[in-house]
């Protein structure tokens, strides 16, 4: 790939983005009219292996099976929980997914997860006709018992993760905190020190505010180093990464 392929351009609804190619994958952000392709959202256009990809700059979270999300328990029902995943669709978590066994009749599910609890979950299934189903089977999934959760716009998650996870690694490596980015725009962090947590939150909001400025990863890195000073190399911070 040449340097030109990496260039992203701003596109608006109705902008012509290209001609119909052999293998253009379906996307809600590109529509076909005749043999021409048009953008449907405000986004950044990118050429990826002969494919046109539009990264939207505004919008809501649309669940996809397999996504890691951070949910907020909204209601306790007889056999499961309804979970808010900051999407137009309410998610549902079955009791058996968390307990590993069927829910006994009359069992109070409040004992395991209550309203206001955060959970780390995977989207198990979702399609146009049914609400997203969550699953907490897997390593690191389940109730979040420590740390802090902050909300950002869901369209900022690609930037928050970065190319090959470069941004998350910078954030966690430089501050010495554990960081996990849910695809729905919720970020979980667990820090040893109060200052590093505050700094991390500040950096996350900075990335949300100016997501596509040049050399943002480097800027974030130098900002953290400057603010934390010598603390960055302290043994406990090292141990935590």
């Amino acid at each position: 790939m040449t340097e030109k392929d990496k260039i992203r351009t701003l596109v608006l609804p109705g902008d012509l983005v290209g001609e119909v190619g052999e293998q253009q994958a379906w996307s809600p952000y590109i529509i076909r009219n005749g043999n021409k392709l048009y953008s449907t959202v405000i986004g950044l256009l990118e050429q990826r292996d002969n494919q046109l990809v539009i990264l939207p700059l505004e919008g809501v979270y649309y669940p996809r099976p397999g996504d890691l999300v951070i949910g907020l328990i909204e209601d306790v029902e007889l056999y499961g929980w309804t979970v808010d995943i900051v999407s137009p669709y309410k998610a549902y978590l079955q009791g058996s997914s968390l307990l590993g066994r069927p829910v006994n009749a009359g069992e109070d599910l409040r004992r395991y997860l209550n309203v206001g609890d955060y959970i780390m979950a995977k989207v198990d299934s979702f399609d146009r006709s049914s609400s997203p189903m969550l699953s907490v089977k897997g390593k690191g999934l389940g109730r979040i018992s420590k740390g802090k959760v902050v909300d950002v716009s869901p369209v900022r998650t690609p930037r928050l993760i970065g190319r090959n996870r470069s941004m998350v690694e910078t954030l966690s490596g430089e501050t010495g905190c554990e960081v996990l980015v849910g695809q729905n725009g919720r970020v979980w962090m667990n820090c040893v020190k109060k200052e590093s947590e505050e700094l991390l939150v500040e950096m996350i909001y900075l990335i949300e505010r100016e997501p596509y400025t040049k050399g943002l990863t480097e800027k974030v890195k130098s900002l953290i180093r400057e603010r934390l000073g010598v603390n960055v190399a302290s043994p406990e911070a090292q141990a935590n990464t």
């Binding site: 990496k6 701003l10 608006l12 609804p13 809600p28 959202v41 649309y62 137009p88 006709s129 040049k214």
Partner: protein, 246 residues
């Protein structure tokens, strides 16, 4: 006692200019801005001369009441409303017959552009508030709604731009003002999706000959091109910092 002016004023003056000094094919000065409300998913304000409309878009979000949701697409709900202080006399704040009809017309024009089938079982709420009314509010409301929908990140085929053409003293005029609206022989609002060259709204009050109608469409598309360019510039300017990326 105040005496009402019942006589028709001269709409085209001796020098060929209009009552507000514009040429027949000249539009009023336009101002647009997006992303002005923090609580809404998308918002825009559009000014055209003295007409000023603010629109907020919420959604796609879960629909209440649930049974009104559609299984295959998002439901669009549009409210066009004139604030009590938008006119000379206080306007009753409740939705009038006229406002309900304009809400429907704007909704249908928007539905042609918005890809509602991307978000089944949800709703997209559009609230247009006329802050100041001076002819052409439905098109200004429609333009601000289309900008606000784009600002909310909802997929749409194209932005919608629209302008009215009319006939005043036998001359075709672009973007009617209050007097031409009241005393003119015809008033035809047109809205289009310019990059697809499709019409989403067309109404006609009064009469045109077939030749006049064709000329009117020509005149309107010229104005629409200009408005469309301005809409794109407005959206681009919000992201000007992103132009040099990676």
């Amino acid at each position: 006692m105040l005496t009402l002016q019942v006589q028709k004023p001269k709409l085209i003056l001796e020098d060929g200019r209009r009552t507000d000094g514009r040429r027949p094919d000249e539009m009023r000065p336009i101002k647009m801005e997006v992303g002005i409300l923090k609580n809404a998913n998308g918002s825009a304000i559009v000014e055209m001369g003295k007409t000023k409309v603010l629109t907020a878009v919420y959604g796609p979000r879960e629909m209440h009441p649930r049974h009104l949701a559609l299984p295959d697409r998002a439901v669009m709900r549009v409210r066009y409303h004139m604030t009590p202080f938008s006119t000379d006399d206080r306007k009753n704040p409740s939705l009038s017959r006229r406002e309900i009809e304009i809400s429907k017309v704007i909704r249908e024009a928007l539905e042609a552009a918005v890809l509602a089938e991307t978000f089944p079982r949800t709703t997209i709420d559009v609230f247009s508030e006329v802050l100041q009314a001076d002819a052409g509010t439905r098109l200004v409301a429609l333009m601000s709604a289309s900008l606000a929908v784009a600002d909310a990140g909802i997929p749409m085929r194209d932005l919608i731009a629209g302008v009215a053409v009319g006939k005043a003293d036998g001359t075709l005029v672009l973007d009617l003002n209050e007097e031409e609206d009241m005393w003119g022989e015809a008033d035809m609002p047109i809205a289009m999706m310019p990059s697809l060259s499709q019409v989403t709204l067309l109404q006609l009050n009064g009469n045109f000959t077939p030749e006049e109608f064709r000329a009117a469409i020509q005149l309107a598309s010229k104005g629409i091109e200009e408005l469309y360019k301005l809409q794109k510039e407005t959206l681009t300017s919000k992201y000007s910092a992103y132009k040099e990326v990676n």
